[in-house]
Symmetry: C2
Subunit: 162 residues, 2 copies
C-alpha cells in the first residue's frame, strides 16, 4: 500500500472523532514559521489546538519571498499579529552547503537549481537572520517576533535572544 493510501485510511479514523469546525481566522492571532523537519509535530510541541495559529513550514524554516507572501496574507486577511519562529538542532540544511546541494541536484537530474538552498551552520545565527529579514519586509503589519530553537533530542524549545 502506498503511503498516501495509508494516510487516507488513517484520516477516516480522524474524521470519526473530528472535534467540529472553527473559524478561518486563527484564534490566537499567531503565525508559526518552522522547519519542515519530520520530528516537529508543532501542535503538540507548542500546545496548539485546532484553529489557534497559522503554520508555515519550509526547508530550514527560513524567510523567503513565499514566507513573506504567507505572513502578509496571514496578517492582512486573517488578522494574525505575533510571529513565532521554530528552527531546530540536527537540521538537514546543516549537512550540506549551497554549492554542494546544487552539485548534487545537477549530477542527479542534469539541471542546476538557480535558487540558493539556504544552508546554514549556526542555528542561533540563522534564527537571528530570519528576524532581520522579517524586520526588513515592508509588507507586514506587525513584527512582534519570537525566535526559538527546538532540540530534537529532548523535545525542549529554547528562545533565542534577537
Amino acid at each position: 500500500m502506498a503511503e498516501y493510501e495509508q494516510m487516507l485510511a488513517a484520516n477516516e479514523e480522524w474524521a470519526k472523532s473530528f472535534p467540529g469546525s472553527k473559524p478561518v481566522a486563527p484564534g490566537r492571532k499567531t503565525a508559526v514559521v518552522a522547519c519542515m523537519d519530520s520530528r516537529i509535530p508543532l501542535f503538540g510541541v507548542l500546545g496548539l489546538a485546532v484553529g489557534d495559529a497559522h503554520v508555515i513550514r519550509n526547508a530550514g524554516g527560513v524567510i523567503t519571498e513565499d514566507t513573506i507572501r504567507s505572513l502578509t496574507i496571514s496578517q492582512h486577511v486573517l488578522g494574525t499579529r505575533e510571529i513565532v519562529l521554530v528552527h531546530h538542532t540536527d537540521c538537514g540544511l546543516q549537512k550540506t552547503d549551497d554549492a554542494g546541494l546544487a552539485d548534487l541536484v545537477e549530477q542527479a537530474t542534469g539541471h542546476r537549481p538557480p535558487w540558493a538552498a539556504r544552508t546554514f551552520t549556526d542555528v542561533d545565527a540563522d534564527v537571528r537572520e530570519s528576524i532581520r529579514l522579517l524586520n526588513e519586509s515592508p509588507y507586514l503589519l506587525s513584527k512582534d517576533i519570537c525566535g526559538t530553537v527546538y532540540d530534537v533530542e529532548t523535545g525542549r524549545l529554547r528562545q533565542v535572544e534577537p
Copy 2:
C-alpha cells in the same frame, strides 16, 4: 501573557512526555505540502507519527520556488519519494483575489507587493495546478504525487483525480 510565552510554557509539558529521538530522514519517505490554515493538524489528520514525513506549508499549500527548494532538499538530501498535497475547503485565498490583496497591502503599508498572492476559486483545479507545476520541475527525483482536499467542516480528506 504573550502567545509565545504560553507556547514556551506548553512546551515544558510536551518535553516531559517526549517520546525520544528519531533519525533526520523521514521514515515513511514522504513529504506533505499543505496550506498554513490553522484548522489542519496534519499529524492527526494523516495519522503521522514523529519522524514519518516532511511537512511543507504555505498560504494555499501552493507550489512556489520555495516549495520546489524544500522538496528538492527533501528528496535529494533526505530520501523522500512520495508527495502528498493537502488543500482545503473555506480557504482564506478564496476570499480575495491577487489585485484585491495587493490593494489591501498597499493601502495599509504604502507598499504594493511585487509577488502574486496566488488566490484561487476552484480548490480541485488548484490541486491539479499544483500537480502540473510539480510535474514541470526539472529538479525533483520522484513525482509520485497524491492530491487531496481536506473538508474543515467534517475532518474528511478527499483525493482529487489528476
